[in-house]
């Protein structure tokens, strides 16, 4: 599976929010989008999942052009989109939320049960609370539920929009660990993040989006060490924070350990 965007423009109403986007995601690859608020990261993900109409350019998935397809059709091909702000079904139980994640596979009961068991094993917090209303979960648990629900569709490409938003540092680490694990299993991941430091640390490649266009692209490490990115997205005063023993650096180190086995 390979996702290819060529010269994509998309937006809402009559305005294009993103324009001339070229982007590729290959199998078992983590690709990170970083950019300021309002740069168009979420819109880019929406264009891929079909929530925002594509005005020009092409999107293809495994060589098949999908920009004219309905959202459901794209999901069926193996794209899952965990949108910004969790968007779980808060009035339904955790179990039903997960069940709906596999809505497209509703005919295949056995497989669905197997996926549910697998995901339950990976997210024991959710497994214990299958009959709780999703709205009664904590913020972090809701985020896990959103990701788990996306995984229930057994996607080939998982798009995560700000999965770390509003989470405690410990949970952020957990979530990034999961993301890394998912890649191990051959899943391609397209990640939009404000937490540029962490998301670039685990990424194979990254794209910097500015005003709806790709401003910079390269490997995660290259971007992390690039001065432009450091100035603009890693924030002022990042140096002392990244000194040995700083929380961010510790996180990054742990993550690199996790990833280490396959990135060398």
């Amino acid at each position: 599976m390979t996702l290819e965007l060529r010269g994509v423009a998309a937006g809402y109403g009559i305005v294009n929010v993103i324009d001339q986007i070229d982007l590729t995601v290959r199998p078992a690859e983590i690709v990170t989008l970083i950019g300021a608020n309002g740069a168009g990261k979420s819109t880019l993900l929406k264009a891929i999942s079909g929530l925002a109409p594509v005005r020009s350019g092409t999107i293809s998935f495994n060589g098949e052009r999908i920009d004219g397809y309905s959202t459901a059709a794209r999901m069926r091909l193996g794209i899952a989109h965990v949108p910004e702000g969790r968007q779980i079904f808060s009035g339904l139980t955790v179990g039903v939320n997960l069940q709906l994640g596999a809505y497209l596979h509703r005919g295949r009961t056995d497989e669905r049960a197997a996926t549910l068991a697998e995901i339950g094993a990976r997210f024991p917090v959710l497994q214990e609370r299958l009959s709780t209303l999703a709205g009664n979960l904590s913020g972090g648990q809701q985020q896990m539920l959103a990701i788990a629900r996306g995984l229930m569709a057994e996607p080939k490409l998982l798009m995560l929009d700000e999965p770390s938003l509003g989470l405690a540092p410990r949970l952020v680490t957990e979530i990034f660990e999961w993301i890394a694990h998912l890649r191990e299993q051959g899943l391609a991941i397209l990640l939009s993040e404000q937490n540029a430091w962490l998301s670039l640390a685990i990424a194979d490649r990254g794209y910097v989006i500015e005003n709806g266009r790709v401003a910079l692209t390269g490997s995660g490490q290259d971007l992390l060490s690039s001065k432009e990115v450091a100035d603009r997205y890693l924030g002022v005063g990042i140096e002392p924070q990244n000194g040995p023993g700083s929380p961010d650096n510790e996180l990054a180190k742990r993550l690199r350990e996790i990833l280490g086995s396959r990135s060398n």
């Binding site: 959202t71 999901m75 968007q87 079904f89 709906l100 509703r106």
Partner: protein, 631 residues
């Protein structure tokens, strides 16, 4: 004791059907976030189908009932796919609400054409002999009703809670955007809920037809009763719908027995208004509270089209010129009186335009104010001998007071709940007009109302009435157009396009809305008074909720937010039945259809179209103004 038992049984029976309709309301509301006012019509469609299969074709009960339900459901799916589903994805919820009112009118009209206006009753399924239990007599049809509606409720619950399709339906209600990302086909789910609700309604209609004789407009009765039930019980909650329905049925029977059958509705409506004001979400909180509506982002708002500058002046002068000269021309018989009616109704539509077109607030009870004004003027000038002018002024004042009270009481309500509160208000006035026999003459109406007169000059011929109403209309349009150009109009526009932003900019949104309601109430009252003086007669039918729907149809047809547009709407809908022979029977169906079609294909209305054409004609200064408008 036996008496109260009979009343309770009667109430529960009737309430059972209300509960079934309420269930349909809740289902659609949960999935599409829209109150589908056409719901009650499916009861009548089901019963009508049953009548044909059973009585005309001579089928047995079960196959006939099955065929009738299938036909009604199939019909609803067709209509739903063509109108409801596109409307939900394209229009703001308030417009969809009005569109379903149009659908209701359309169904009533179709039933009238097919069925005629006589009442029909079906034979009870298990014979006439009641079922006797410990000396208490229960009609066998009641057992059927109770059994089938329980089965329906259980079936619905199982569907929603035990199947994937049901989970998908609930997901759409919870969060449409996320539902799309799960690969759920949203339009199909909406259609599914619409069809399911119609099916439930058809079953209810078939069950109740042996107890209650039905006629073409019973659909409105069911919609209204079901709506009261669901609003009392809590929109979107199934248990609440059932309890609300039964409660309503019993209340109505008790009121009918101990007070007067004419007041059966009044008590329930009062109860409803109190519930809406105190607990808008109903007595029994629905399980899931709906989150903010994400579809609003992508919805194309209705565009308002207005003429500006010299072109609008030129257009207005030409129009008034033609109208002034009309009586001098050899007109076909009856045209002038029709013009008078159009102008009288236009005055009310003008008021509605201030409210809907400018302040962006839907009113489904506008005729209520017309009733207040009409009856006040009529009663004061007949029973109390007031001069018509004074009576009219007093009537307007009374109506404004009503408007003030209503808008203060409903100040906290938004969107749907506000629209529904106005519907409840209109219905309440309706039921009072019917029930207060001593004051209003009850269902048969008030007669002997004098002609309008000022200082001894009586407007007692069509020509005089024509010039009176024309003069008033022109004066009102000029005044309002002036007002809209000043600060007030701008404030209204701000409120219409974005209430929150307007409030943030320091606009007192509450007060602006109250003023808009008062203006609209005053104009509706004036229209009601003129109507009474013109016909020397007033009856509840003239100022019923149907009239409220008609006003909306006129406004939407003419063009919202244009002031003058309503005139063309009123003219078209008044003249059509008189111009086309044998059209009268189709009038209702066509009115409903017009409302639906206009909403879907020509949201700018007739005058909006004219304005667009005029705009195409190059003329310096003639500028067309387009507004992207909110609700």
């Amino acid at each position: 004791m036996a008496e109260i038992f009979d009343i309770l049984v009667g109430g529960l029976l009737e309430g059972g059907v209300f509960a079934i309709v309420a269930l349909g309301f809740s289902l659609v509301f949960r999935v599409a976030n829209v109150v589908n006012l056409s719901q009650g019509a499916f009861c009548v469609l089901g019963a009508m189908g049953m009548y044909y299969f059973q009585t005309v074709f001579g089928w047995a009960i079960l196959p006939a009932a099955f065929a009738a339900v299938v036909c009604a459901t199939a019909f609803s799916l067709l209509i739903g796919a063509a109108t409801f589903v596109p409307a939900v994805s394209r229009l703001p919820p308030s417009s969809t609400l009005v569109l379903t009112a149009g659908l209701l009118t359309f169904f009533i009209g179709v039933t009238l054409v097919v069925w005629g206006n006589q009442p029909y009753a079906l034979p009870p399924f298990s014979g006439e002999a009641p079922f006797v239990f410990h000396g208490m007599r229960i009609p066998t049809q009641g057992v059927w009703l109770a059994g089938v509606s329980s089965a329906l409720m259980i079936g619905l619950w199982l569907l929603l809670h035990r199947t994937t399709a049901g989970a998908a339906l609930r997901a759409c209600a919870e969060n449409p955007l996320a539902a799309r990302l799960m690969g759920i086909n949203l339009p199909r789910m909406m259609l599914l809920s619409f069809g399911l609700a119609a099916m439930i309604g058809a079953v209810g209609g078939i069950l109740v037809a042996p107890i209650m004789s039905l006629q073409f407009d019973s659909g409105q009765f069911f919609t209204i009763s079901g709506f009261i039930a669901v609003a009392i019980g809590g929109m979107g909650g199934f248990a609440g719908s059932i309890v609300g329905g039964l409660l309503l049925g019993v209340t109505e029977q008790l009121a009918a027995f101990y007070v007067s059958s004419l007041f059966a509705n009044t008590l329930a409506l009062l109860l409803l208004l109190v519930v809406l004001i105190l607990r808008p979400t109903g007595l029994f909180q629905a399980g899931a509270q709906r989150r903010s509506d994400v579809r609003d982002d992508v919805r194309v708002h209705r565009a308002l089209v207005r003429l500006q500058g010299p072109k609008s002046l030129g257009f207005a002068v030409a129009l008034v010129g033609v109208l002034v000269l009309l009586p001098a021309l050899p007109l076909p018989n009856g045209l002038l009186p029709s013009l008078v009616i159009s102008l009288i109704l236009f005055i009310a539509v003008l008021g509605l335009d201030v409210l809907m077109g400018y302040a962006g607030q839907v009113s489904l009870g506008h005729a209520g104010f017309m009733a207040v004004g009409g009856y006040a003027a009529a009663v004061l000038s007949t029973s109390h001998g007031w001069p018509p002018l004074l009576a009219t002024i007093a009537a307007i004042a009374l109506s404004v007071v009503c408007g003030l009270l209503l808008s203060l009481a409903t100040g906290q309500l938004r969107g749907h709940y506000l629209a529904l509160a106005t519907l409840a208000f209109g219905l309440l006035i309706d039921s009072l007009a019917v029930g207060l026999v001593d004051v209003t003459g009850g269902p048969s109406g008030l007669v002997g109302i004098p002609a309008f007169a000022v200082a001894g000059f009586a407007f007692d011929t069509p020509v005089r009435m024509f010039y009176l109403t024309l003069g008033l209309s022109v004066a009102l349009v000029v005044m309002l157009a002036g007002g809209m150009r000043l600060g007030f109009g701008r404030t209204l526009k701000a409120v219409r396009s974005d209430q929150l932003a307007a409030a943030a900019l320091g606009v007192n949104v509450g007060r602006v809305k109250v003023v808009a309601v008062c203006i609209s109430a005053a104009l509706a009252a004036l229209s009601g008074a003129l109507y009474a003086f013109n016909f020397h007669f007033l009856s509840p039918e003239i100022v019923s909720t149907n009239r409220s729907f008609e006003f909306i149809a006129m406004l939407v047809l003419g063009g919202e937010g244009t002031l003058i547009g309503g005139f063309f709407g009123a003219l078209a809908l008044t003249l059509l039945p008189t111009l086309v022979q044998d059209f009268a029977v189709f009038k209702t169906a066509v009115e409903g259809l017009i409302l639906v079609v206009i909403f879907l294909v020509m949201p700018e209305g007739l005058f909006g179209r004219v304005a667009m054409w005029l705009q195409a004609v190059p003329l310096p200064g003639g500028r067309l103004k387009r507004m992207g408008a909110g609700r």
